[in-house]
Amino acid sequence: MIARTTRAACAAVLGLAAAAFALAPGAARAQAYPARPITVVVPFAAGGPTDTVARLVAESMTKTLGQQVIVENVGGAGGTRGAGQVAKAAPDGYTLLLHHIGQATAPSLYRKLPYKVTDFETAGLITAVPMTLIAKPGYEPKTIADVIAYVKANKDKVTYGNAGVGSASHLCGMLFMSAVGTQLTTVPYQGTGPAMNDLVGGQIDLMCDQTTNTTGQIKGGKVKAYAVTTKDRVKSLADLPTMEEGGLKGFEVAVWHGLYAPKGTSPEIVAKLNAALGVALEDPKVVARFADLGTEPEPKDRRSPEFHKTYLTAEVAKWKPVIEAAGVYAD
């Protein structure tokens, strides 16, 4: 017990020392990368799903790279503040960005984005967290097919909650409405917490959010779950059909996460980061925690920086028409 405490205290002291060292600019630049701690900017608040993914991966990467990988939360403006900060950072591999699907949707959501998606080097995909379509407890429709029919017939009565403009739940809702071909009353909240509160309390009807946020409520029977939004069923929620099984052909959305470095970072550094990320995605602890979150590491054939780049471009193109059709902008 005491040993563990001492270790935690040591970790704290080391962390502080590392932070102090990080403040000395240009120290030991000539040495092999990484010569000093690496900061991974998460453009959302600490404790959220993206932060959780980042901290799990960072812990493992710290072991592989032999340098502290520190997670720094720079929230605000739907993730664009943190991303913008990294876009302008020195391309030396010591300031990185870990962002989710918002990296691909921001260019369409924000008309005055202070940076471009091309301002980053892609360092690899991490995980694609599935989403679930859920409803308030006791909601009438029984299956996903029923929901689709019900929504079409009663579009004036159905309310859809989301965690705010540009959030994953907002994106999933837009895609769902465009797939069903109807517009529902959208009720935005500031974050998933209050939205979930109103869903469990029966104030709103439907919501689609990451398994990270919904699995506890689904298993506890506090909400009604209809479907998962991935191509295949999700292991941790095996009873739930996919949206496609429910009749929405080609409906697929997942909150995918990727690691980025500022544009101009050398390919060697990117390769080193990608390799360390690959080790993290094989780390049994990371795999186990991802499973708790209802997700899995990206399969090996989707882990290269090149695949990440192609995928990012494809996602930007996929969301542009959906967002433009919905006519919502975040600025």
Partner: protein
């Protein structure tokens, strides 16, 4: 007796050597960051997250929880001593607490805060143990119309925060509402009143605003007058409460505890609203309301009990439903997820050691806090004798660090400086900053809930009246409005006749 078994389990977990240690580390850290202006539990818990990875989940949560409610104890210290509320919930404590300090009664004010918080923490912990699931269900009955009605009531009550002119208090509330409007509209994403400044996309930061208006404004004012530069004008009297003072605080502590326990369950600012509400109630029920704002001990006892009770009961939605009621709870959920526990309704049954262990640790933590804080009072009071030219640069430095740590953004530090100047100007004009801050907090929520309620009801305003809880709250607000305005109208008439 299932409850006794559960509590026995809880205490067996919480009383292990390791967990007592983490509980102590948590409350000690909480007290420290509460005392340091600006540095709040959110920044601290975020910094400590990586350390909790190596701990067992129960120990991690016990420590993080300790930081949170420990900060509620510590936050009142700077509010009382140097008129600098470090937490939103200690804004009202500053009103009468600092006046008490200026009269040499800092010890009594600090003791009141510590004892009131301990009593409230104990009661709220038992409420948590006995009624957590039904209380969580009650919180779920609160939909957007109910919250809107609650905010209206809060806004009406905020007029009583001012001890001076009602007209000036109203002006301050409106100014606060206006400042609160700045930032992105959450329903459409349209930026409002941001003047093309990117940093204003999320509006002004509360901590920067509060510390500027109170802390920096107060420093400028103290510096202008040579003779008033010492923090306490009068001699420091006894450090403990007198028998009379003790009798005086019993009823306010009880009222604050009940109010705070209830409002704390409600997600979204409930815990903070409770301290404002407790102050309003104390002033209303007092036979001598004119003492408020001039060092009334009830004005410290009620709000301090309320905010600590609220901090404790705000764990209810998180522990029973897995729904975070404020950003600190969201962080704790994040910590649990990293530990491999998905917070949700099943935690109570699947992980009884976690649920009951944390509850038991809260009582132990509160006990430690009162043991820790009472002896510290002497030390804090002695701090007041430090010459002001040594104190104020230190205060400013801590304010800057604290404000910066909230969002890691230098813009917030400039914001604080700007509002410091505004705060000074307002003091000169005899306008009080507390109603402004309440307007700033309530304004955006009022709008958010109103528009959400209207969205869900499809534009039918009857929803506020047909729902019983909302109708009752609005009725209370109407009664409160009449009660607030009547004496004011009479007074103005009397004044008019005098002339």
């Amino acid at each position: 007796m299932e409850l006794l078994d559960n509590l026995a389990l809880g205490f067996s977990v919480a009383l292990s050597l390791q967990n007592i240690l983490y509980c102590f580390v948590g409350v000690l850290l909480g007290t420290l960051i509460g005392v340091l202006p600006g540095l709040g539990p959110i920044a601290t818990i975020a910094m400590l997250l990586p350390i909790t990875f190596g701990l067992p989940p129960v120990s991690a949560l016990i420590m993080l929880a300790g930081i949170y409610y420990g900060a509620q104890y510590g936050g009142s210290t700077t509010a009382i001593l140097i008129n600098l509320p470090g937490e939103s919930s200690s804004v009202v404590t500053a009103i009468d607490g600092h006046q008490m300090a200026r009269q040499g009664r800092a010890g009594a004010a600090l003791a009141t805060a510590a004892l009131g918080s301990f009593f409230a923490g104990t009661v709220a912990t038992f409420l948590l143990a006995l009624f957590a699931p039904p209380l969580a269900d009650l919180a779920l009955k609160f939909g957007p119309p109910e919250y809107f009605a609650l905010m209206v009531l809060g806004l009406v009550a905020s007029v009583t925060l001012a001890s001076g002119s009602v007209v000036k208090a109203l002006a301050m509330i409106v100014l606060g509402l206006l400042l609160g409007l700045s930032g992105q509209d959450i329903y459409t994403g349209v930026p409002r009143l941001t003047f093309e400044v990117d940093e204003l996309a999320d509006g002004f930061d509360f901590v920067a605003l509060a510390m500027g208006m109170f802390g920096i404004g107060e420093i400028i004012r103290n510096l202008e007058d040579e003779s008033q530069r010492s923090l306490v004008a009068a001699k420091v009297k006894s450090l403990m409460l007198t028998k009379d003072e003790f009798k005086q605080i019993i009823a306010p502590v009880l009222r604050g505890t009940i109010l705070g326990s209830f409002l704390g369950i409600l997600p979204g600012g409930g815990a903070m609203l409770s301290s404002f509400a407790a102050y309003s109630i104390e002033k209303k029920v007092s036979r001598t309301p004119m003492r408020f704002g001039r060092g009334a001990i009830e004005g410290v006892a009620g709000p301090e009990s309320a905010n600590n009770a609220g901090a404790q009961t705000s764990f209810i939605p998180m522990l029973t439903l897995g729904i975070p009621s404020n950003p600190v709870m969201a962080l704790m959920i994040g910590a649990l997820i990293i530990q491999g526990i998905t917070p949700g309704p099943n935690v109570v049954t699947d992980k009884p050691d976690l649920f009951w262990g944390v509850i038991a640790s809260m009582w132990i933590g509160n006990f430690m806090l009162v043991l820790l804080n009472l002896p510290l009072i002497g030390l804090w009071v002695r701090l007041l004798t430090v010459p002001y030219h040594v104190m104020y640069p230190a205060i400013i430095a801590f304010c800057c660090i604290g404000v910066y740590s909230v969002n890691n953004n230098t813009f917030d530090v400039y914001t604080m400086a700007l509002f410091g100047v505004l705060g000074y100007a307002l003091v000169k004009l005899d306008c009080e900053p507390a109603p402004l801050l309440l307007g700033f907090v309530i304004g955006p929520m009022l709008e958010e809930y109103l528009r959400r309620a209207m969205l869900i009801s499809r534009g039918d305003p009857m929803v506020f009246i047909t729902r019983p809880i909302s109708a009752t709250l609005l009725l209370l607000a109407a009664v409160a409005l009449v009660m607030v305005l009547l004496p004011a109208v009479r007074k103005t008439r009397e004044e008019a006749f005098k002339e």
